[in-house]
């Protein structure tokens, strides 16, 4: 069979000692930068790009890919342990993962994240091998109108993340979108809301905002009642997920994998939307949705699987068409060109050893990651037994270096400090911050797609509903919004969900 011979070829390439070593180096490095707040895979890949010149094209791409998916693993670790998502997509994991850690179940949360990621990563790798070509066609069906409608659906669905008022969650999304618009307008080149601050021309830094509103604001919250109680973890119960945990997580992992595999193919935000979508689905399907936000293991298992599956399938447009889905992919395209390989449809036929070697290495890399991460759980959990007042100066130092290293921009550090305060204020007023971050990331994309769609249709808004796929997505958004805002539902929700902490 053709596929078998291809995969065998790929495995031969991937298990050569050099490639195996650099796959491990990449995965390890990725885990490390994923764990550290601020410094992300894009910055790491950029730093390491020059080193890869001396390697063979296969080795170099295998290592860079390892950094990318390794960072997805690592990003969830700090999200769970100290409520500090390394990337926007692990912000979802932080919701229930951090609560689990506070209840002493950090081991279970980390374990299920690793297991879910491994299953999802393996499945998505198979999907790439099998369906890369047809899935590319699906991705091309998404034009500006479809993306606009998909993002709208994603944003509305994300209010399911909130365990308080839907209206407040929606307001946070809109506020996040407005903050995302700060900077240079792509279409006109005009500066918006920058008040003459040159550093704002590129917009507010996503890393600075994420670390500020989650990490720093959480420190303030923990300092609130210092005298009365020791913050952090009570007792640590078990390092591994129990049989009951695994049983509860099986279905969410499967669903998350499916969602992530499909959405990951869409460039620009696909993989991010996947983790949010998975969380929303799990909460909708749960028998007792009130557990969500208070340490429900499904809220970790689903999104983590979706996130990792999406990270894998986001390679598809790059491998089949040379279209990078995000900054890391763009750098990998650069790495290929430096090696003299023109990224595009010809890679699969002209360089089968590169294409299949990379795919096989992804599976091996995922295996290495799970083997690497499961033993590490013990160390991570022990980290939590460090008293909080010793731990948090370290969080501050790591955050500051990480944020500064992104672009050597001092302004990002002021943003970090400011958003720590803003985040704390918003939490005190009963707002939740995950929707804010989601709006911040997706808002500018939504504007770009809307404007592009409007130019294409020469200003006719009906374009959004005459495109069938877009119309279907909008219809789904409308019915979801009705369901969410119907008074009876709202009243019931607030009875169930209002909780103060």
């Amino acid at each position: 069979m053709e596929l078998t011979s291809h995969l065998l070829l790929g495995l031969q390439v991937a298990i050569s000692p050099t490639n195996l070593l650099f796959c491990f180096v990449g995965a390890l490095l990725g885990t490390l930068v994923g764990v550290l707040p601020g410094i992300g895979p894009a910055a790491t890949v950029a730093l390491l790009l020059p080193i890869t010149f001396t390697m063979s094209p296969e080795t170099s791409l295998i290592m860079l890919a390892g950094i990318y998916y390794g960072a997805q693993y690592g990003g969830s670790t700090t999200a769970i342990l100290i409520n500090l998502p390394g990337e926007a997509s692990s912000a979802v994991t932080a919701i229930d993962g951090y609560q689990m850690a506070r209840q002493g179940r950090a081991g279970a949360a980390l374990g299920i994240a690793a297991i879910g990621s491994f299953i999802a990563g393996s499945f998505a790798t198979l999907v790439i091998a099998w369906f890369a070509e047809p899935l590319t066609t699906v991705a091309l069906k998404f034009g500006p109108a479809e993306y606009f409608s998909l993002i709208l659906l994603g944003l509305v669905a994300s209010t399911a993340l909130a365990h308080g008022s839907v209206l407040k969650a929606l307001a946070m999304i809109v506020l996040g979108m407005l903050l995302g618009l700060v900077g240079t307008d792509v279409n006109s080149g005009q500066l918006r809301y920058t008040f003459g601050v040159g550093e704002l021309a590129d917009g507010l830094g996503i890393v600075a905002i994420a670390v500020g509103v989650f990490g720093i604001a959480e420190i303030f919250r923990n300092l609130e009642n210092e005298q009365e109680r020791e913050v952090g973890v009570k007792t640590v119960s078990g390092l591994m997920p129990s049989a009951a945990d695994l049983k509860a997580s099986a279905a969410p992992i499967a669903r998350g994998t499916a969602i992530g595999t499909i959405l990951g193919v869409l460039p620009g935000g696909g993989a991010l939307l996947a983790s949010f979508a998975s969380y929303a689905v799990e909460k909708k399907l749960a028998k007792d949705p009130s557990r969500f936000g208070k340490g429900a293991i499904e809220g970790v298992a689903g999104p983590e699987s979706a996130n990792n599956a999406g990270a894998q399938t986001s390679f598809i447009p790059m491998l089949t068409l040379g279209l990078p889905a995000n900054a890391v992919m763009a750098l990998m395209v650069g790495a290929m060109t430096i090696q003299g390989i023109a990224p595009g449809p010809s890679v699969i036929t002209d360089k089968p050893e590169l294409f299949w070697g990379l795919i096989a290495s992804m599976w091996l890399g995922n295996l290495m990651l799970v083997l690497l991460n499961l033993p590490l759980i013990g160390i991570w959990v022990r980290l939590l037994s460090v008293p909080y007042y010793i731990l948090f100066p370290g969080i501050i130092a790591f955050s500051a270096i990480g944020v500064y290293s992104v672009a050597s921009n001092v302004f990002d550090l002021y943003t970090l400090a400011a958003f720590g305060l803003i985040g704390y204020l918003l939490v005190k007023l009963g707002f939740e911050l995950t929707p804010l971050l989601l709006g911040f990331v997706l808002g500018p994309m939504m504007e770009t797609y809307l404007r592009r769609a409007m130019v294409l249709s020469r200003g006719d808004p009906s374009y959004l509903v005459t495109e069938p796929l877009s119309a279907a997505l909008l219809a789904a958004t409308a019915s979801l919004l009705c369901l969410l805002l119907l008074p009876s539902v709202t009243r019931k929700r607030s009875e169930v969900f209002v909780e103060e902490d």
Partner: protein, 149 residues
């Protein structure tokens, strides 16, 4: 009268943000047409939406149950922790990573009332060394240890 003051403040805060983004957008950025949307179109639209939401949240709170008190505000922690980040920002471009880290870690260490001076010094020394090993030598982050780049 019973009212949820927390939500009233929350709603008014959103309204203020909406006015801020909306008025600046409306007065300084071209709106364009729905065909060629200007840079002001989308922000003004969003500001309007946010304003309505703010009013709704504040309005709904009038007559609702009283809010729980805000709890203690850890002023000392907030000031010292924010000061640590700002101190790092002021020092790192001119004097390099080491002085910036020392100041940031010392300041944030005293954000907690449980910290003792001896422990703070030990923590500062240890963490600074660890950060340098990890970021500078481990990851090769291009920030000089001492002095400007």
């Amino acid at each position: 009268m019973r009212a949820d003051f927390k939500d009233i403040v929350a709603g008014l805060l959103l309204l203020a943000a909406a006015l801020f983004f909306g008025l600046i957008g409306f007065s300084q950025l071209p709106l364009g047409t729905s065909f060629r949307m200007g840079p002001g179109y989308f922000p003004v639209l969003l500001s309007g939406l946010l304003g309505v939401m703010g009013l709704a949240i504040a309005g709904r709170a009038i007559g609702a149950g009283a809010a729980v008190s805000a709890g203690q505000i850890p002023w000392r922690g907030i000031v010292l922790t924010s000061g640590a980040t700002i101190g790092f920002a002021l020092l790192v471009p001119r004097y390099g990573l080491v002085p910036a880290l020392v100041v940031a870690i010392l300041l944030s260490a005293f954000a907690s009332r449980r910290m003792t001076p001896a422990l703070a010094l030990a923590l500062t020394a240890g963490l600074t060394a660890f950060c340098i090993l990890l970021f500078r030598y481990g990851l090769g982050v291009p920030i000089p240890l001492l002095g400007a780049p």
